[in-house]
Amino acid sequence: MKRDDFLKHVAWTGSGIAWTLSSSGLFNAQKALAAESTISFVQISDSHIGFARPENMDVTGTLQKTIAAINAMPVQPTFVVHTGDVTHLSKPAQFDTAKQILGTLKAPLVVLPGEHDVIGTSDAFFAAFRRSDAPKGWFSWDQGGVHFLSLVNVFNFEIDGKLGTEQIDFVEKDLAAQKSSTPIVVFAHVPLYALFPPWGWTTEDGSRVLAALRRFNAVTVLNGHIHQIVQHTDGNIRFATAASTAYPQPAPGTADKPGPLKVPDSKLLSVLGYRSVEIARNAATITDSTLQK
């Protein structure tokens, strides 16, 4: 990142970073910057390929619009993560369509499953998006000074979001090897905290993972599932759920039930979109963009 951009970024996020204009101070700051993380990526979610109801008769089209907007970004993201519910009913044909459309992204793609992608079996999801470094679906990697964890909380879906002991053990071991100063970014489909349990918007065994994240200076947890932007901060952990590329859902408790929410056709694109995330000097800048103002 250029110094000008860095200053703009600091001004934008308002993170308190000591910065002096003395030559030695500038030198030190720049030296520190070189060792710090700077990375940007994009999150998209809940495309529900196969859905065709009055709430959105063209989910393929709105996903294509989303990808066109991302491909038009002047600086391409390091990667694009899809946080699940790529398909509506886990059908191989739906995965085929989704894979073709997502294949038009310029940036590399990371995909994790939502519960709509593993109905009955996760075979179709893995046939489309299996990674050799993630035999069970979950994995971690380091990029741009940030440690990323991509988790799956939609297997064993009998009681809301659930990670399972094997995955939690993996997370604890994985995080134990990281320095507390390393920025951590976690992806999972269902919110990892109790956002709204009556509608299943929670991960019942998420607390052990959140406990393992406590000692880090800066943690960002990004989820989908609820088709709307909700931000929440709990100590060192910043949570944010993303908009869908297909259709919105009601705000927690504002309706009798969750599910597709009908908005006027002219307003649909203003509630669908994507999210850009920049991690710099331990501060995450989250910018949500809609497909229409």
Partner: protein, 116 residues
């Protein structure tokens, strides 16, 4: 052991009730029941039927649902809006089922051994 005996008794009962050439006994056609899925609820939430009965599940919701047995003995997989799925219950017992997509949606079907 008691389960086995019960099974044997049912088998004997079935043999006894087999109409065979007796024209006075009407054929035991499986009865039909329907469960509607509406507003994230199975209706009726508790249904009692007999062995051999066929149950039709109809998704009247805008959202997709599943009909999945807690013991995995049956599974509709994804049922889209207006989708239907049928299952014939061949064994007596109490079956708890739920929606894989919305696990707080729960219901029960009790299957009685003797048909009417």
């Amino acid at each position: 052991m008691s389960r086995l005996l019960t099974g044997l008794q049912i088998a004997l009962l079935a043999v006894t009730l087999t109409p065979g050439a007796n024209a006075a006994v009407p054929p035991l056609l499986p009865a039909a029941a329907t469960v509607h899925i509406k507003d994230f609820k199975y209706n009726p939430p508790a249904l009692t039927i007999h062995v051999g009965d066929r149950v039709t599940f109809v998704n009247d919701d805008d959202e997709a649902h599943t009909v999945t047995a807690t013991d995995k003995s049956f599974d509709s997989e994804g049922l889209d809006t207006a989708g239907t799925w049928q299952h014939v219950f061949a064994k007596p017992g109490t079956y708890h089922y739920f929606c894989e997509l919305h696990p707080y949606m729960k219901a029960t079907i009790v299957v009685l051994s003797a048909s009417k």
